[in-house]
């Protein structure tokens, strides 16, 4: 039997650190959460402007993924004209501690 498999074992998958890491795996997940964390609400176009070079498709799918994970609120306003606003959920707002620790480490240790 070849035991050289490379899957995530249960004891890893259940670890709080791993679970947190998972939400940062997409290329733009962290960036979107960071932008929503420092703004009350944002429209799609504002997010696109805040994250240069992200495509409409990627922004749409990433927002949907984050919505499913309970990190992003999507509120549709049926006014004229109708519009949608995105915001960070309470749990996403709590990520600021993680971002802050990452900022400190990156500033101190990563060379250009």
């Amino acid at each position: 039997m070849n035991k050289n498999i490379d899957i995530i074992p249960e004891e890893v998958a259940n670890c709080p650190i791993y679970k947190t890491m998972e939400i940062f795996q997409g290329k733009w997940n962290a960036w979107i959460l960071f932008e929503l964390g420092r703004n009350e609400t944002m429209r799609f176009g504002e997010l696109r402007k805040a994250i240069p070079n992200i495509s409409n498709t990627v922004l749409t799918t990433t927002l949907r993924d984050l919505e499913e994970r309970g990190l992003v609120n999507r509120i549709q306003f049926n006014e004229i004209p109708p519009h949608v606003e995105y915001s960070a959920t309470e749990s996403a707002k709590d990520l600021k501690e993680v971002f802050s620790a990452m900022w400190v480490w990156g500033e101190k240790h990563v060379k250009d």
Copy 2:
């Protein structure tokens, strides 16, 4: 001109948070850094045991990648029998603040 490209712009790539995130992008990077962070030194076999299901190849390439990033020390002991010991560099040890923030967030917010 189609502007719907999806590359990392310079202002993102230079951000300390992004730089920190980058070192966690490999599936096992964080896990290896976490294990080395809580042990003085580890041999290859000990790392394999600590990270169930990781393959020899993946462990080897990930360790080399982390070594190149200045996060892992690899010390070869030319004794009989010769052996190699891996340890976290000072900058990798500082990641404990990031791990700690991730642990707190994961425990509080991620449902099973």
